[in-house]
């Protein structure tokens, strides 16, 4: 029920968006992310027809970067 899936925004019309979820097009409301500057091409997390968060790809990279040393360290981090 708390399931949310990432979708790519392909079209925006007011606070409605068309999103591509793994090749399937769906409508989603942008009402809950109106302050997150969502644009076409962005990825958002969609829950029961509402985008609830914009996904920041750079953060995904930054986390991997931060952990790459810790994870492979032989001694204590």
């Amino acid at each position: 029920m708390c399931l949310a899936v990432p979708g790519k925004v392909v079209k925006i019309d007011g606070d409605r968006a068309e999103v591509d979820i793994g090749g399937i097009r769906r409508e989603a409301s942008l009402a809950l992310v109106a302050d997150q500057a969502v644009g076409v091409g962005d990825y958002v997390l969609i829950h029961t027809g509402y985008a609830i968060a914009k996904i920041d790809e750079q953060e995904a990279e930054a986390i991997l970067e931060a952990w790459s040393q810790v994870a492979s360290a032989d001694s204590d981090a």
């Binding site: 029920m1 708390c2 399931l3 949310a4 409301s29 009402a31 809950l32 992310v33 109106a34 302050d35 997150q36 997390l45 829950h47 029961t48 027809g49 509402y50 609830i52 968060a53 914009k54 996904i55 920041d56 790809e57 953060e59 995904a60 930054a62 986390i63 991997l64 952990w67 810790v70 994870a71 492979s72 360290a73 204590d76 981090a77």
Partner: protein, 361 residues
């Protein structure tokens, strides 16, 4: 973008680090999210962890903790013909004390499955001559969607029955009751709304390391490593591993909508009991959209756990589904006894789905 988060080799490396860092001392981590349970089981993450590290599922399935009394009340309303009931598909087969919504539907009640609350609002505007009640279930991920619809003043023949629940009060309840938990993996989607900040007070007060995690195998393994490292260093913070979707303060717009429409109230968690401040009820200003007021449904309590079902212990992480005497025999997804076997997010349903594929530890 996420390929590396699924890289088995990386996940294994991180699991080995967890083994090094914990060095054989027991570490019991709880998560409170059905999707985390699914990801952990589906990816066989428990098998990668050293034996001293245990990851248990807590009350992370909103459908599973919905009291039987509420299901009965909703069935009663639908059967009376006073209103059309809309709800999520997951809820349909959950047994109440008397019957499930699916059974009520089979007896002729007008109960419709919706994908989201906006579908329910649309149905209500298309059929103005009928009353619609949306059985609104879910944690902080879902509550803002109901809030935003109500703030936009839906048609007057629409109301909701709020069974929404909040995660941090449930975590606090578990910690307060002295449950054997060394740290928490915080739920990723709930956290997109409430932010990593929401857990800081708990981490500090109860000295429990926590990590907000996403749903790829590496996300979860990194969260476990973070918790292990924090414990080793003697700190208890909230590490935000899922920063690609979770902001420190969460989704402020969604939080404001929730705050505008709802107020926290004590709530009954099926199989667990009453947890202070863990539910959401509609504020008085919005009572026109409150099914309890409109249809005089009153307070409907009572957990109503089916006879012999151990869901309560499963939800508290004190019993693995396989340890329930009914698991896989009397209780299976095609004929569930307890709520944890119904929802796709139920710990028992997930365990059943994968029990044949993987050896138990």
């Amino acid at each position: 973008m996420l390929a590396r988060y699924r890289d088995r080799g990386l996940v294994r490396t991180v699991a080995e680090r967890v083994a090094q860092v914990t060095a054989g001392s027991p570490l019991r981590i709880m998560h409170v999210c059905g999707t985390h349970e699914w990801a952990i089981t589906h990816n066989g993450l428990r098998e990668l962890l050293p034996r001293n590290v245990e990851v248990v599922a807590g009350p992370g399935c909103p459908v599973c903790v919905t009291p039987g009394g509420e299901i009965d009340a909703i069935c009663g309303l639908a059967l009376s013909g006073k209103a059309v009931v809309t709800t999520f598909g997951d809820v349909l087969r959950v047994p109440g004390a008397n019957r499930s919504l699916a059974e009520a539907k089979a007896s002729g009640a007008d109960i419709r499955v919706v994908y989201g609350v906006s579908d329910a609002v649309r149905m209500a505007s298309e059929e103005p001559e009928r009353d619609f009640v949306h059985f609104s279930i879910g944690f902080e991920t879902t509550a803002p969607t109901a809030a935003i619809e109500i703030m936009r003043f839906p048609p007057r023949n629409f109301s909701i029955f709020s069974s929404h629940k909040l995660i941090p009060p449930a975590m606090e309840y578990l910690l307060r009751s002295g449950a054997a938990i060394d740290g928490f993996i915080c739920p990723g989607h709930v956290s997109t709304i409430i932010g990593a900040k929401a857990y800081e007070g708990l981490a500090k007060e109860y000295s429990k390391p926590m990590a907000v995690a996403g749903f790829e195998p590496l996300d979860i393994m990194l969260a476990i490593l973070s918790i292990a490292l924090q414990r080793k260093r003697g700190v208890a913070q909230v590490y935000n591993e899922y920063a690609r979707a979770v902001r420190y303060l969460g989704n402020e717009l969604a939080l404001r909508a929730m705050e505008t429409v709802f107020v926290a109230a004590d709530a009954e968690w099926r199989g667990i009991g009453k947890i202070p401040g863990s539910g959401l009820k509609l504020r008085e200003e919005y009572s026109d959209f409150d099914a309890c007021v409109k249809h005089g449904m009153g307070t409907v309590g009572g957990g109503g756990m089916p006879q012999g079902c151990s869901c309560g212990e499963v939800l508290l992480g004190s019993l693995r589904p396989e340890e329930c005497p009914l698991f896989g025999g009397e209780c299976r997804p095609d004929r569930p006894v307890g709520p944890c076997m119904v929802s796709l997010e139920g710990t028992c349903a997930i365990a059943f789905k994968y029990s044949g594929l993987r050896g138990r530890r």
